[in-house]
Symmetry: D2
Subunit: 113 residues, 4 copies
């Protein structure tokens, strides 16, 4: 038996893994952060039970990560913060990815049954 | 408050989304299915709390999906079955992705607390 | 010895392979085509020698490709047309990806030395 | 007009961009480098005109890149060397990706018409 709350958490995880591994590696510069944020959020919001996605790519961290003359870097978890809300059969799961001890940690913030 | 079982389900979802969106689109032919299965399983088993991953790419479906003279197609969910076992703080979640009504559905099979 | 024109063609190919394999598999619906087009173009324009990228995702083909109740599909070459212009040391290469015999063919249109 | 040598260079670039952006971001540890190398090579060899692909992921650099307790990192260009040979209508292009000044540079080594 799987509860609706457990299923909501599973769905939340799917969205995070999808977002991360679809878009990690994308060439990014301070000039292209806004369009990438919008595309990432709208793409993942297409997935089932995904009510909202908010992606914030940090322009200053992007600029600092550019370590060669070409003027861009590749998107990694350390450059962005992501929040999502999943609704599954009346259960709402709120999640967040942010840097913690140098690792972009994906976290369940709360589950509202 | 998030229970260990809910956290196990969240972790299980992350692995599925990661596997799918990292490898979907990979050029594949009946000659390259075994190496791709092995790489997908070993890559995702690196992730935290992921005890085992088994990927089976269906050679016949790959052959049938090749619709142009180049002799290969791109990996999609309809060409594979995936099973995973996640262990989080003593809770085991077993999951499976398989075709259901033409859609590659990711499912929680059971959660053993 | 490699000529500037040959190098321009090599650079053009890199951009096409990058664009395709970075973004293939992205969840897409008629509601999210514009943001994805913009992000794809701006991301690849970051790469060296890439003067312009134009991505057109076909809303009608996206709608027709949605074959399950979830209301979205995954981006593939059959859903989009892409044009790029590469400038390398004064050589301009113009390229295009479009459907030809059921296969999304990447083509060098002309090279202006 | 596009020459066969220019077309060979375009095809070489496509393979490099494909390989890089399909597999960048894959979770990797010293235990999973061999299977990932094999899958990357066999996947890209499926593409048209691609005679051979050799991928070498550097175990020591992978180990050094692991900067958190989870025991893995994500594949980037700085962790691997790639060589490819493209044959297009009798023209052979040899290419290589390796680190140069901290950037994984993709290079045309020679073109044999």
């Amino acid at each position: 038996m799987v509860t609706d709350a457990q299923q909501a958490c599973f769905e939340a995880g799917i969205k995070f893994g999808s977002l991360y591994h679809q878009f990690a590696g994308t060439p990014v510069s301070p000039d292209s952060t806004r369009s990438l944020e919008a595309a990432m959020a709208e793409a993942i919001e297409n997935q089932p039970f995904c009510e909202s996605v908010d992606v914030s790519i940090d322009d200053e961290r992007v600029a600092a990560a550019i370590d060669h003359e070409n003027g861009y870097t590749e998107l990694t978890g350390s450059l962005m913060t992501v929040e999502m809300r999943i609704d599954y059969e009346g259960v709402t799961a709120r999640t967040r990815m942010e840097m913690e001890d140098g690792y972009p940690l994906m976290k369940l913030l709360d589950i509202d049954e």
